[in-house]
Symmetry: C2
Subunit: 427 residues, 2 copies
């Protein structure tokens, strides 16, 4: 019966079997050390002398080791395996393209990405995804606990979701189709069915720019729910989702945070909120600016930390001209919207808001943008509104961006298993 | 503060507010009834007389109702709301394309699918997806509890996953790319990183046949894990995943099962296993048949019920010629494979098995099929094997097929939110 390396310290004196990858060999004259890596961590195996067998056990070879556990304060976890019988489960592994046993990653990002199937084995490289996986769990748990229903909606769609730009076209049995840029339309329709829905899945953007923030395919964490008063209810729900994600990361990816030297932020129960017009003043920007520049966002982040002791701050009321047609205007002044961005350490993390919910509002909003509610692109979507939809809203979190912000990764590709972009379609 | 309709019976004598859709009006001379539907169920609102306001409250109009809860054994849950103040939250809803208030669905499948945004509101239509959502939760919980890491791998790939057939091609920044037919290659690579992984996500098949079982896009529940002895370990893990799915459906979608009149099956702790060669004998089929016909599967299902009292049975050892190149042969006789199908009530539900894990085995397996391990399609995939992979295996469950089998739906489209097939790309 195999045990994991992290269970070794509690088995001192016993005969145990472990299995994993040869992480590193160190051969001395009188004794050799073999460091074994499994999913739980590292284990030290002590081999008398420097037997020929070790020649075959190159780094990354998969082995099974049976031996006796001995206490040793110098070993990982304070125990090691002595008098081992080592059986290779594979042929000797070829030398990896990056040295996986070094504490830090000694290769640049392109080399890491080109060799992802192996580079991800490095404990520091894989840490990003460990955090992502924990965040996914936390997101679903937080929303399931609030009575949300998970949905899975089509990624092949008949028309571009929100605009014709940056959409991937494909051949669908001889006709045109597209990859969904977001589940926005579907999740709104499903509010009419389940009231509260979330979806975790891929979204696709034919993003023609080569930046550290953009991917052609990423994982979107979407939520949408009905019977709200306004976007402030959406912000409260978003806060609880983010809090759930952070909590799950702390509970399930503590080792990954440690390897990356990252401390988890706290999100206050009441996230400070500032109106867009006020935000421009705080940033010292022109009051007619329709959007916040990166420097403005940093200034607002600084303000929130200074005035509210918070690393998170929401900016509400973004100008309607900069928001999609389904955005609900601010009732007191329709130049502004009932939507928000959530900033984390001065950088945008999430966008959310209240949507229109009356059919007549959609007709007017589309007409105002020179489009028709009768267009095939909108007919199924708007059917939901013809037949009664409650006031509702929602948000979308980009998983890779969330993890990059959390870990301080400069490039979102560092925390993506197999990134897709303008220049990269493999591995 | 809004309460849900299922909370009404515990609020007798209190003033409450509920909100939802007008499910049905019944107007009599002295009294009218308004049935309100929210995510938790139905509520009865009693209105004195037949006021003009009810003219405006057409079915599916969204309303908020404040009134007093009174006990009434005839009302749903034994209580109703009297002396209501009703506020419409939308314009009067247009008449739905199918009558949502009828206990059974009075429209054929094409009408239901064409009008999915609204038809899914019918309690019987939405029941299929409630079961699916619960199954997703159970799958993830079962595998997370066994130390699996969730992964999300790319759906846009540079080469067709397993074969050139039935693959959707797309324009990727001016070059060719494809939609992933399965995460098979990625999940195997990730065994080298996390040992145990699962993925829930869309897979794409350009399926040119119009059948009740095939979709062009469906949700695949994939698992793969290392350090197994053989495919029997995979079957044990699959059993625990299916048991978790069934348990979650019972716990979280009991109402949906009831609406559909479906009883949950039990999966035995030890699923009966029969070898493919034996299965042919049980079915009375030609011993040289390379596959099981539907009638054979039914016969084996009958046999399992009769001999083992089980609705589930695994057939192991399928001929290697019918399995993909990465399948591990049966060590005692390489004509057979270390793979299996899990049958439920005589129909195939899941395929799984042990994979090859040595690089040299992949080279030989590909050469035997006239392919080269040096081909670009395999280079990243096989990199994982060059650098050490443990004995491993896994399985894939089609979500929609699983739910259809469970509910007895004849057509997998009945339990898919927005099916995609040869003829359907909308809604």
């Amino acid at each position: 019966m195999r045990i994991l390396s992290h269970e070794i310290p509690s088995a001192v004196g016993q005969s145990v079997t472990v299995a994993g990858w040869v992480h590193r060999r160190r051969r001395l004259a009188a004794v050799s050390f073999l460091i074994l890596r499994d999913r739980s961590g590292l284990a030290q195996i002590v081999v008398k002398g420097s037997p020929e067998q070790l020649d075959e056990l190159s780094e990354e070879t998969v082995v099974q080791v049976t031996g006796t556990v001995a206490a040793n304060p110098q070993a990982p976890g304070g125990a090691e395996i002595v008098d081992p019988v080592i059986v290779a489960l594979t042929e000797p592994a070829a030398t990896p393209p990056i040295e996986l046993w070094r504490p830090t990653v000694g290769a640049g990002l392109p080399v890491v990405l080109d060799n992802a199937p192996v580079a991800l084995r490095h404990p520091v490289v894989r840490a990003g995804w460990e955090i992502a996986a924990a965040a996914l769990h936390g997101f679903r748990e937080a929303l399931s606990g609030q009575d949300f229903t998970e949905i899975q909606t089509p990624k092949i769609v008949g028309t571009a979701t929100e605009s014709g730009a940056n959409v991937f076209a494909l051949d669908y049995f001889g006709g045109p189709a597209y990859l969904a840029q977001s589940p926005q339309f579907y999740k709104q329709q499903m509010v009419g069915v389940f009231e509260r829905v979330f979806e975790v899945g891929p979204v696709f953007r034919a993003e023609p720019h080569d930046t550290v923030r953009h991917l052609a395919e990423y994982v979107s964490l979407d939520a949408e729910f009905g019977f709200i008063t306004d976007h402030r209810d959406v912000l409260v729900m978003l806060r609880s989702a983010v809090a759930g994600m952070l909590q799950a990361v702390g509970e399930r990816a503590g080792g990954a945070l440690e390897r990356l030297g990252v401390a988890l932020p706290e999100i206050p129960v009441d996230v400070p909120v500032v109106h867009f017009s006020e935000a421009l003043k705080i940033a010292g920007a022109d009051p007619d600016e329709p959007d916040l520049a990166p420097a403005d966002e940093r200034a607002i982040g600084e303000w929130a930390r200074r005035e509210h002791g918070s690393e998170f701050v929401a900016v509400e009321g973004y100008p309607m001209v900069k928001r999609p047609f389904y955005t609900h205007p601010q009732p007191s002044d329709p130049r502004w919207s009932n939507s928000f961005d959530l900033l984390f350490r001065g950088v945008e993390l999430v966008t959310g808001g209240q949507r229109l919910h009356r059919y007549s509002e959609y007709v007017a909003a589309l007409e105002a943008r020179g489009e028709s509610a009768e267009a095939p692109a909108y007919s199924s979507y708007l059917q939901a509104f013809k037949h009664g939809m409650p006031p509702h809203g929602g948000f979308a979190i980009g998983l890779e961006r969330f993890v990059a912000r959390l870990t301080g990764a400069e490039n979102v590709r560092e925390v993506t298993l197999f990134p897709r972009d303008l220049h990269r379609l493999t591995p």
